[in-house]
Symmetry: C2
Subunit: 545 residues, 2 copies
């Protein structure tokens, strides 16, 4: 695909024929937003179909509270299983599970502690070790066992081989350090994470019975930024596009944004040597994903599964990689919050949209209701805050029912909050965007940031304090306010249940504010109307009776 | 107590010496607000310590979603049991319990289905029957069995005796019809609901071991409005105070308010004959509560429990009874949302505040954290949205940390929404008030209502569209907006957990945006720094190594 700033797809040097192949068969969405620019929070929204403000798990490592319903809960109710293969970054609410007596030794307990998925294999792809111990003792355990069996030694070959290089003197060059991104990972390509997970997916699909949903969750491209050969050498600094940034943007940055730009990550990724080292590797990792997607698609075609499988390609966030003087994700520019989304619906009804591009405002929370729709289930609109995309995929609609998207970040647990001087309650940010405007608000008391996405698609000019835009700012705030008031926790009854409830009381004899039974229609009469007491009833004589 | 419009306590004819006795020993709060003006929603807030917007059960009959933590959960963690005796109006989230495999046959399942209480006896006091069946088949079953044993016959003596009169011809005069409120209930006073529950409370306390919390939840005064003798005859129309209302108020009423005034309940209670019939009975029921409170207090004194029991007297809402051209509750005037609250802390530290009056802005959600504080537990401020009142009770503070109160109503399941033409998403109202102003907002698109509580304590003049008050309206909306954005679902980690998380990542080896290990301090070094590969490690030679 040709690079197009407004569509954010395509690259002059990095070609992705297999993603293009999906796009040619399906619908490519150009305005798909994640609900959080950080892995775990974004994924919790995708898996629950709910905003961060609704489920509360706004940062990596924040447990998803017990009771939250997941894609798996909704799909199983519709008769479809829901499986995981790869990363979720989910942390279970251990305290909540204990409170409710839920054990991971039961099917229900396992699902609750795994975001509602039946786990084929979980691999969060983050398996470091530091002076205080491991980040996560369960992540990548299957993959490490696989690597050991394949002859890669050590307790954590995920690190030593898949995510490190090695120099001529036998020194492990950890992929955790960006300078090592230029070197190839010390692993054969076929044993690296992406091909491994792809093979696991084919194994799973080959044996799967009945309707299934499989969340094949690749880890790369992601840190540690390191790729095996041939991908490590595939791209060089000459293939790196210039960063999207300006000096004025840095000088005029809002305090919150400036603090992030000035931090370690921002200033590191702002350096040409870092970009020229990391980005070619990142491109190699994307290319590897595309090649593995090709392997999977070929296999789906060969097995006939291509004809009856709906395929979604998307991401949990983007990566600044030096754009806007930032690295990583964790802020609200489109480069981080607007993600690729391609959906291939194999049904004949979707033939009318094949190969088309859709610029509707779409959110990650739309996926769960889309899947329920595919499964033929009833979409619980009082729980799922997104909208099914099937009407768009099948040419019956061009937009879901929304006029803005929301993205949130919760820095309460991030070291960034220290630099910002923000308490756990202040360290929260909201983004609200439509096709023209994007407003960013932090609870720190700083003024908002406003971008004009039409005239400044690169988001270089903050109009948050422009006197000409006070009405726009107010209008976007009003929409955010209405959104914040939504009854997101009213999840036990549906709108239809409430409609039924409106007429229920009288039928069961509750008559409020009725002076005399004579005013009631006969069919609303309570049982006791005109009732004679039984002769043997004790009479405590009424006053004046 | 003398009646004081600002303090809302006292009545020239209805004397409550036992409530006064509590006030003389404790602190009487003059600005205590409930979080919803309808029983069930108000109680769910009290029991969870959370706003309706946080727990979602905004109307009677809306199940409290599984996963919500309750007073009982918090107290048991602090080593105190939590028991129920009387009404809760709780509806369990049966679907959620099934999803998590929770059965009412287990202790945990029973607690989840009873708002976290260990049930001594539940009696919601609403046991009607209509053409569509019973409102609730479990309510009042113990009480009905008691009445049967005492010689009151029939399947539902709760209705036929405790809540109905009988005329000279043996006709049951149902208490559901207001005209019958003038007659005495066909029951001996000692067998009516309030004395029955009081005795059950004494029985419970007499046998209770260890630290306990007992929610003694009287049903009356509440519809069906009917009282046993002597309370039925204690007050007459001559003791009824004039309604608080004005013709201008009716004429100028906001559409939502006007619709409610014009409805069956409002127009019924606006009639003098209704007020003169119902209010004397309502007064009698209050008097009976006061007398039974006296029985309980005498018994607590005689048994020594008065010296080690913290006592709270409060209500789940008020009752318009014709004020503001309204009946029942369900709107946001003080008469409905501002409730009595008296707290007696027996500890010596509270001696400094005995018999004092406190005008702090207090909410029902403050009770749960107060109880946790009394139990010596750690208040989970990331779950409990209120504040402990112990500092006020012990003279260490005069206000909790807030500058407004919130009250909410959710009419989605109310027949009123039909008259209003409101969908389930529009039928929601918010009240935000400080000591001076009260703003009321509905999601129907109607303009807000604003009352000046200082200059118009009777809330007769709606300033919501006054050009002189646009800034006040905007300021109150801004506070409501900030409140609506609060991270109410971030309940799995405390602020202290987040502070610890801020420094955790590096300790476990996640180093993001680090070019070279040399920049890290030695104690943040990941395990793999300067590590030599084992001699037998397979080498895939690095580019350029």
């Amino acid at each position: 695909m040709a690079r197009n700033k407004h569509q954010r797809y395509g690259h002059p040097h990095l070609h992705t024929p297999n993603m293009d192949r999906l796009a040619a068969r399906g619908v490519r969405f150009t305005r798909a937003y994640v609900q959080a620019p950080v892995c775990g929070a974004s994924r919790m929204s995708t898996y629950t179909g709910r905003y961060v403000h609704s489920h509360g798990a706004g940062w990596n490592g924040v447990p998803l509270k017990v009771g939250e319903q997941t894609m798996g809960d909704h799909l199983r109710k519709a008769g479809m299983d829901c499986h995981l293969l790869g990363k979720t970054h989910m942390v279970p609410d251990v305290e909540g599970m204990e409170r409710l007596g839920l054990s991971r030794d039961t099917v229900i307990g396992r699902r609750v502690s795994e975001c509602g998925f039946d786990v084929v294999e979980r691999d969060d792809g983050v398996n470091p070790e530091g002076p205080a111990g491991r980040y996560d003792y369960s992540a990548a355990q299957h993959y490490n066992a696989y690597l050991n069996a394949r002859g890669y030694p050590g307790e954590n070959p995920w690190h030593d081989h898949a995510n490190s290089a090695i120099d001529g003197e036998g020194n492990v060059q950890s992929g955790w350090f960006l300078k090592n991104a230029a070197h190839p990972a010390n692993i054969a390509e076929e044993d690296s994470e992406t091909p491994y997970l792809t093979r696991r997916a084919m194994d799973f699909i080959a044996q799967a019975q009945g309707p299934w949903c499989c969340h094949l969750s690749f880890i790369k491209p992601h840190w540690p930024y390191i790729a095996p050969e041939p991908y490590a050498s595939m791209y060089g600094p000459e293939h790196v596009l210039p960063p999207v940034r300006s000096n004025a943007e840095y000088e005029n940055a809002n305090r919150v944004l400036k603090t992030m730009m000035a931090g370690v990550i921002g200033s590191t990724f702002s350096k040409p040597e870092v970009r020229n080292t990391v980005i070619p590797t990142y491109m190699g990792l994307v290319k590897q994903c595309d090649d593995q997607l090709g392997v999977l698609l070929d296999w789906l075609e060969a097995t006939g599964r291509m004809a009856d499988t709906l395929i979604v390609l998307t991401a949990d966030h983007g990566d600044f990689l030096g754009d806007h003087w930032l690295g990583e994700k964790m802020f609200f520019h489109d480069v981080s919050t607007r993600v690729p989304l391609i959906i291939v619906d194999p049904s004949a009804e979707a033939d009318v949209t094949r190969g088309t591009v859709c610029d509707a405002l779409v959110e990650s929370i739309d996926l769960a209701p889309t899947f329920v729709d595919v499964a033929g289930g009833k979409i619980a609109s009082h729980v799922l805050e997104g909208h099914s995309l099937l009407p768009i995929l099948r040419g019956q609609a061009t937009e879901p029912h929304r006029d803005f998207v929301i993205c949130e970040v919760d820095f309460a647990g991030a070291i960034f909050s220290e630099a910002l001087g923000a308490s756990a309650h202040e360290a929260i940010g909201f983004m609200i965007a439509d096709k023209r405007w994007k407003l960013i608000h932090f609870e720190t008391g700083d003024p908002p940031i406003l971008f004009d996405l039409e005239n400044d698609p690169d988001e270089l000019i903050d109009l948050g304090q422009s006197p000409d835009h006070t009405e726009i700012v107010a209008a976007m705030y009003a929409k955010l306010f209405a959104w914040a008031r939504r009854p997101s926790q009213r999840t036990t009854l549906s709108p239809a249940d409430f409609d039924a409830m409106r007429v229920k009381l009288r039928g069961v004899g509750v008559t409020i504010g009725i002076w005399d039974e004579a005013v009631l229609p006969p069919d609303a009469t309570i049982k006791y109307r005109n009732r004679k007491a039984e002769p043997w009833q004790r009479l405590i004589r009424a006053k004046g009776a």
